[in-house]
Symmetry: C2
Subunit: 334 residues, 2 copies
């Protein structure tokens, strides 16, 4: 196997910047950006990481893959809905590279495969951070990225081990798995319920998500939705690494005992609050598609999927842009 | 039967003010208010109606039922969640009155019955308006109020006819039914789906609510939810006056042909936008309770019920009050 000496990160949002900033201490880093001024800023100032570490990395950035040297590894770090345009952009380039994907949800690998024969490594990341500028990212949640060969391509477990070793060597954390699906699905099922419910209720992930005392309690919905997805996973031949309901109970139980200090704002709720397109099609929408493949009913996932899509649609409705939120206009009509 | 000569309106919000303003032209009107300054303003300035008519009515208002003369008819016009405190307030008073209820949803009559032996008339109103001040209401949607004797009390259809006649004589519209349930349930099922979905998507009632072309389309959810409620109605022995799905298709088809001009903001969406408590417990929650009585599953209604309750809960969460909606803080974690 060729030693990994050069890595190209596609998309330098929060996660892409973290990979580029850390990996820059052990290999040569290139960054493919969407915006010209972003590439210029990176070439001029390099990339600064604060938070869990203080790093300053030189990078070579461009909006054109033809201007970048041939990498051994490409990390596609854009949001799920931008993967297709990223793959289109690198079509015909980087013939010797493996591609590592770190999007939420399911289905991005199939998209990349349509644009090239790169061996593909699937990834599940739990890192989080704050992007302060085009050249400065703060690393917050210092958690491992799980990676494994995607079964739809010819990536090998041995190469995955090499990538994991590189990531760990850089100061980030990675764990390699021969079969990533049990991990990918555990996180998918957890995210599908928690993200979509926070997105339509505006309620962060708090204790209420595990409360099942009365019929009105939200935990009943979370539980029913996760049970539905678990049946679909079983039917699709996937056994889960972790139980999503236990992940949920454990997460909201964090913080001071008996207190209400845990209140996490999932990425989809952040997207909705900022009126940014969400990744619903790759998360809850992915489970709806898997249910269809298994010819199984999925009323809970279909419901949350449609609600989040409708919420996104509300942003482009002209009446919502100009609506007056008068407190006194009302009626019994409906 | 005693002629109706004196009417007491309990709660002078938009609907209560419309009843008081119109009925004041044909009978003596009293208004029971929650706030002292509201009663004083009404006693001093009377009640002005604009919009569909120009009226100015003298009323006698008070926060204390002991200060009001004995009415023949009491109209409880508060929101569903305030009916209990209204009933408590008039407990022991108005022994010769019938009580007319005009709340959304189901279940308010049972509450009133616990506080007195008044014969109860159920009502379904579609009126709407804008309340400009404590003494000025604008009448907008000029639609009939449907009324009928509530089976749980000894109100007669003959008396209901008399009340309908009075309302029609005043300039408002009313229609009397021997059995109101088929009408009440048609509106309930329509409202349960449309109101709750608008409340969590922030999308007004628009054409998307009737679109069923792809799996992501919202019309699929509306349809499934209405079918679920129709089965519950059948099991509870109620045959519907109108098909809720047809009501939905017809409503969003209004306006310019092919255009998107119809965009109604239901009361529950208005409540959510203003962070006012919604009537979810009496609308979607009522169908959840009826399903339990019929020992039937109600996954769609339970889901929307829990989501709207969670949305209400989000308003009192301290993290939401102080949350910063930063666009750049994000992660892949969930």
């Amino acid at each position: 196997m060729t030693k990994i000496e050069r890595v190209c990160v596609v998309g330098a949002g929060t996660i892409g910047s973290l990979f580029a900033g850390y990996l820059g201490s052990v290999v040569e880093i290139m960054v493919l950006t969407r915006r010209e001024e972003h590439a210029q800023a990176l070439n001029q100032h390099g990339l600064r990481v604060t938070g869990q570490a203080e790093l300053h990395t030189r990078v070579t950035a461009s909006t054109d893959p033809a201007e970048l040297k041939d990498p051994n590894l490409v990390i596609i770090a854009t949001k799920a809905f931008s993967v297709e345009s990223s793959a289109q952009k690198i079509q015909g380039y980087f013939p010797n590279a493996h591609v590592l994907m770190v999007q939420n949800g399911l289905g991005c690998e199939e998209i990349v495969k349509r644009y090239g024969n790169w061996p593909i490594i699937s990834g599940v990341s739990f890192m989080s951070g704050t992007r302060h500028s085009d050249t400065h990212v703060e690393y917050e949640l210092d958690t491992p990225t799980w990676i494994g060969p995607w079964a739809g391509s010819n990536a090998t477990y041995e190469y995955v081990l090499q990538v994991a070793s590189l990531i760990n060597h850089s100061g980030l954390k990675a764990a390699a798995y021969r079969d990533l699906l049990p991990h990918q699905w555990s996180k998918l099922i957890f995210n599908s319920a928690i993200n979509s419910i926070t997105a339509v209720t505006d309620l962060p992930h708090v204790k209420a998500f595990a409360k099942e005392d009365t019929i009105a309690d939200l935990g009943n919905l979370v539980h029913a939705m996760m049970d539905e997805a678990k049946s679909i996973a079983t039917e699709r031949g996937v056994s889960l690494a972790d139980d999503p309901w236990e992940m949920n109970v454990k997460a909201v139980g964090q913080g001071v005992t008996g207190g209400d200090t845990y209140a996490h704002i999932p990425s989809m709720l952040a997207d909705v609050r900022n009126r940014h397109q969400t990744e619903i099609d790759w998360i809850t929408g992915a489970i709806v598609r898997e249910a269809a493949k298994a010819e199984m009913p999925a009323p809970y996932h279909e419901t949350l999927y449609r609600l989040v899509k409708a919420r996104e649609a509300s942003w482009s409705l002209s009446i919502n842009k100009m609506s007056n939120h008068s407190a006194d206009k009302e009626g019994i009509d409906c």
